[in-house]
């Protein structure tokens, strides 16, 4: 090569020489002066120098560039090495003169290349680790917390140490993540067990916290937020559990109490064993599924309320029983129980829950105790009263017996009755003493206690008093009877003296009458004999007066004669002899003996009043059926009694009456009858009327009026014809 190079130089040198020669020739030919020739040659020399200088400058510049490149590369290499934390591979070897600059550059360039490659590898490693860190911390702290900008790797430090550091960090994060996962798992377990105990849907609760937790396939969310929420859910569930547990334990306690109270059978208790066994358990001990579910609690509650109902009904029963006990003992001791209605009130109160049944029970117990105490104090007197009443019974029996004309006839058991009569007589003799003793005892008792001694609600003293009055009366009656007998005896004696014969001793009315008065009780059988005689239904204190009344107006038996304690029936009618015979037959029987004397009275009385009356009656029936009656009227009114003597009157009316007239068909007879029987009241017009006078009026019952039932015209006519 060098040859090739030298050749052109040589050629150029030759060319220069030849060219100079050529120039010489030219000049010679031209005849140029020597000065011009020298000038020309200097010019040529200067131009050549210029060219050389330029080339040298060029070369100099390229050498500087080369040096720069080498220095740059070395610098880069050094930078990379330092970033990677490595000792620089390349130590400046320029001192050692490693050859030309180009060589040096050639040697250094691959080193730089390699280092660059290594650096990028390292960088990638960093990126990878940082990406993982980013990912995990995103999971833990939430996505945006770690800024993505951090992802840019810091090129200045790519050393292994740093890498190591990053790796450590990554590891830490991974550990935290697994920790969190474990924690969440634990929480989930807790939630699950709580849910099962409370009977709540686990999935639902968990999904509410985070949807990922409910799905087993998905990776679970492990953020702080989730964990916190989960913990809160657990807290909440635990609170609910505590509450429910408290409630269940309360219920269970109530249930146990009720069981104890009512001796509930074991089989029934067994069913709720799982409830009662938890009565003292603490919160964490209750793990069985559904023991605290709403359904279960409701179920237990229902049982408790059932038991409670049972209890209240039993309570009520008990109250009733106690009450009946109270009544019973009242009855036994012939005391009048206190207010009856309180019972109803009490039960109502219990039902409404206003009053504790136990309280009422207590009260009743108290009453019973009081009653017992009182009964004890009454006992002695009561025994005496029983004896007295028994004696009274015997007395009345004896009276009845004495009245029996056939009492000495030998019959079955006659000797027994005789014996009884004997005993009774002895007893009757003791009666006054008995009454006296009883009276004094009772008085002493009353004095001591300050309250009247009552027997079945009637004051015993008044009973005794009445009895004494009655007895006195009886005595008087007997005396009168005796007088009469004496008189009769005289009469008989006179008659005997006159006619020489002695009539058989006949029983006078009074004989029959007297004992009846004394007994006081009105038995209808005996009424029939007297006809004009009505007894008071029950002897009363005012018996003289009543007695008097009876004589005056035997039919009347109104409320005035009723004793305070009890009311007898108000017996109005007197026995009507033969009244009930069929109309037809009676009519036939009676028709020949029409009683003239009475008819005018009744007809006049009735005709006088009929107008009044029809008005009255219409009113009473269309309205309230009220009537105002003077006492005398009342008497009349209440006694529709009839005797045979009047039967014709009575029977005459119905055949016309029966169908045609107003509902009220007071028999005309009743008035005259009364006037006949009882001298006192004059005939009173009320209730009397002549039936034939109002044939248009048809009576209707309430039902017929309501149904709008009207008798057809034809019916009426035919009936009238009948």
């Amino acid at each position: 090569m060098s040859n090739a190079q030298t050749d052109p130089l040589l050629q150029v040198e030759t060319t220069c020489g030849s060219l100079l020669y050529e120039l010489q020739i030219i000049w010679d030919e031209v005849g140029e002066a020597d000065t011009d020739r020298d000038k020309m040659l200097l010019e040529l020399e200067q131009e050549c120098l210029e060219v050389y200088r330029r080339k040298v400058d060029l070369a100099n510049r390229s050498r500087a560039q080369l040096r720069q490149a080498i220095a740059d590369s070395e610098a880069e290499l050094a930078a990379i090495c330092s970033a990677m934390g490595e000792r620089p591979v390349h130590i400046r070897q320029s001192d050692q003169n490693a050859g030309s600059l180009k060589e040096e550059l050639r040697r250094i360039l691959p080193q730089v290349e390699e280092m660059r490659k290594r650096k990028s590898d390292r960088r990638n490693q960093f990126l990878e680790v940082q990406g993982q860190i980013q990912e995990i911390s995103n999971e833990i702290y939430g996505s945006s917390e770690y800024m993505t900008s951090k992802m840019v790797v810091d090129d200045s430090d790519l050393s292994l140490r740093k890498l190591e550091e990053l790796h450590r960090k990554l590891h830490e994060l991974q550990k935290e993540k697994s920790d969190r996962l474990r924690q969440i798992q634990e929480h989930l377990c807790t939630v699950n067990s709580l849910c099962s105990v409370l009977g709540v849907d686990f999935k639902q609760i968990v999904t509410e916290v985070h949807p990922s937790l409910g799905d087993s396939g998905e990776p679970k969310d492990i953020s702080n937020d989730t964990i916190e929420q989960l913990a809160a859910a657990i807290r909440k569930l635990r609170e609910v559990k505590l509450q429910r547990m408290q409630r269940l334990q309360d219920i269970a306690t109530t249930m146990l109490e009720l069981w104890n109270l009512m001796d509930t059978p074991i089989e029934e208790q067994q069913m709720f064993q799982n409830v009662t066994c938890n009565i003292a358990a603490s919160e964490h001990e209750i793990t069985e599924p559904n023991t605290l579910s709403v359904d279960f609690i409701n179920y237990v509650e229902a049982e408790v309320s059932r038991l409670e109902e049972l209890k209240s009904s039993k309570m009520k029963e008990l109250v009733l029983k106690k009450r009946s006990e109270l009544e019973e003992s009242c009855r036994k001791t012939h005391m009048v129980p206190e207010v009856d209605s309180t019972m109803e009130d009490a039960i109502e109160a219990i039902e409404s829950g206003a009053v504790d049944p136990a309280y009422i029970l207590e009260q009743i117990e108290l009453q019973i105790a009081k009653l017992k105490e009182e009964a004890f104090s009454r006992k002695e007197i009561l025994e005496k009263v029983e004896k007295w009443l028994a004696a009274c019974d015997e007395e009345s029996w004896l009276e009845e017996y004495n009245r029996d004309d056939n009492r000495y006839n030998a019959g079955r058991g006659a000797h027994l009755t005789l014996k009884r009569a004997e005993k009774a007589r002895a007893l009757v003799n003791k009666l006054p003493a008995m009454v006296d003793a009883l009276t004094s005892k009772t008085m002493a008792w009353e004095k001591e206690r300050g309250v009247p001694f009552t027997y079945d609600g009637i004051r015993l003293l008044s009973m005794l008093e009445e009895y004494n009055l009655l007895r006195e009366e009886k005595e008087q009656e007997r005396r009168r009877q005796r007088d009469q007998k004496k008189l009769q005896g005289q009469l008989i004696a006179e008659q005997e003296a006159l006619y020489g014969s002695k009539p058989s001793p006949s029983k006078t009315q009074s004989v029959k009458k007297a004992p009846r008065m004394s007994t006081g009780g009105a038995s209808s059988r005996r009424l029939s004999v007297g006809g004009a005689m009505v007894q008071t239904p029950k002897p009363i204190r005012k018996s003289d007066r009543v007695h008097h009344n009876n004589q005056l107006n035997p039919q009347d038996d109104c409320f005035s004669v009723l004793s305070a304690g009890r009311r007898g029936l108000d017996i109005a009618g007197l026995p009507v002899k033969k009244h009930s015979f069929g109309n037809a037959t009676v009519r036939e029987a009676e028709s020949p003996m029409m009683r003239v004397p009475f008819s005018p009275i009744s007809s006049t009385a009735s005709s006088k009043n009929k107008t009044n009356l029809s008005d009255d009656l219409n009113m009473t029936h269309s309205e309230t059926l009220q009537k105002t009656l003077a006492t005398t009227n009342n008497m009349k009114f209440t006694t529709p009694s009839k005797t045979i003597s009047l039967a014709n009157e009575e029977n005459k009316t119905p055949n016309a009456q029966a169908i045609l007239h107003v509902p009220s068909t007071p028999s005309t007879v009743s008035v005259p009858m009364q006037t006949v029987m009882t001298p006192a009241p004059p005939p009173v017009s009320f209730g009397t009327k002549v039936v034939e006078d109002i044939p248009e009026e048809i009576e209707y019952s309430f039902e017929e009026r309501r149904a709008g039932f009207v008798l057809p015209k034809s019916h009426i006519k035919s009936l009238i014809q009948v």
């Binding site: 009637i458 009780g521 029936l569 009618g573 002899k577 119905p654």
Partner: protein, 341 residues
């Protein structure tokens, strides 16, 4: 139970009739209660369970009803029909007709016949077993002097009370004519007649607060026992207010009886001793009907306005079933010595 005082009005039955109650009766075999009403229905209740067990609708108001046995009964309606009601199937069939509203119905176990009384002035006897046409079920028609108002049976005796205060006593074995024809011993319209359970007579009540106690036996001794007494009255400022006596019911065991009047009171009487045994607290309105259960432990009371004052606003119709204490219905031994009757 005997010692417990009576509850105020007794238990009120649920689902009462919507209009006036014309009658109610307990079954002879159970505590079932049959109720007829102006609301055109007959209802069957289980009184002890307080439950409505059946309801039968009629063409018109029902004026009376009675049991046949526990599975069937009869009704008398204002649409002139006599019906047989079968409780188990809730079916009814018409036994026959009168020419006017049928007022009362009674079933005689002695004769196996149904007896109905109507405002057409007849009594009809029916054989309920041949329920296949009127020609076969109707046993006989017996004309009465007036519209029939009340019937009562005891054994073979039938007592018919009509308007015009007639009372006919029949022997069911010979219905051709009455055994006795009587006139009511009360002066006013008859409301109700009921035979004594012992078969010796009957009680008869009138619109004028009075009840007569009568005897079948015509002998002088028996007739001497009859009497009448006043009841269901009120004295106010010297005025005597008298109420109709709508209902009489005899106690099946003791022979005592309860009366119910338009004053809303129910009284219990001892007819033999002529005593009033008990007065129950006042009911809201008139007592329309009364019935003792078969053992006399229950008393059904129909508190229902009986139209005595025409159309007017009144308390709602109600049925009370009260348990009866022995003390209320048992004849009382007297405090005072009385010769044993």
């Amino acid at each position: 139970m005997t010692a417990v005082p009576p509850p105020a009005p007794g238990r009120e039955l649920a689902n009462p009739p919507s209009d006036g109650i014309s009658n109610l009766r307990f079954s002879n075999h159970s505590d079932h209660l049959l109720v007829s009403s102006w609301d055109k229905s007959v209802r069957l209740y289980d009184a002890s369970a307080n439950a409505l067990r059946g309801e039968f609708m009629h063409g018109g108001p029902v004026l009376d009803c009675c049991f046949h046995d526990d599975s069937s009964g009869f009704s008398a309606s204002a649409d002139n029909t006599v019906r047989r009601l079968v409780f188990s199937s809730n079916k009814e069939d018409i036994l026959g007709r009168h020419d006017a509203p049928v007022r009362c119905v009674e079933y005689s176990y002695a004769a196996g016949q149904l007896i109905t009384g109507s405002w057409d002035k007849t009594l009809k006897c029916w054989d309920p077993r041949g329920a296949s046409g009127q020609d076969r079920t109707l046993v006989g028609t017996y004309p009465q002097p007036e519209r029939v108002y009340s019937l009562s049976l005891v054994g073979n005796r039938l007592v018919v009370a009509t308007a015009g205060r007639h009372v006919n006593v029949y022997d069911l074995r010979n219905m051709s004519q009455p055994e006795q024809r009587r006139e009511s011993s009360l002066k006013y319209q008859t409301r109700c007649v009921r035979c004594y359970p012992n078969g010796t007579g009957y009680a008869l009540s009138s619109v004028e607060g009075r009840v007569a106690m009568e005897f079948f036996d015509l002998s002088e001794a028996s007739q001497a026992k009859k009497y009448a007494f006043k009841c269901h009255r009120k004295s106010e400022a010297g005025r005597d207010i008298v109420y109709p006596v709508n209902a009489i019911a005899f106690h099946p065991v003791y022979g005592t009886f309860a009366t119910g009047g338009c004053d809303g009171y129910v009284n219990v009487w001892d007819g033999n001793n002529k005593k009033r045994l008990y007065q129950y607290s006042k009911y809201p309105t008139s007592i329309a009907a009364l019935s003792f259960s078969r053992d006399g432990r229950l008393l059904a009371v129909a508190s229902s306005y009986t139209f005595e004052e025409g159309e007017k606003p009144h308390e709602p119709d109600a049925i009370y079933v009260r348990s009866v204490n022995e003390i209320e219905v048992k004849p009382k031994p007297k405090v005072y010595p009385n010769p044993p009757a």
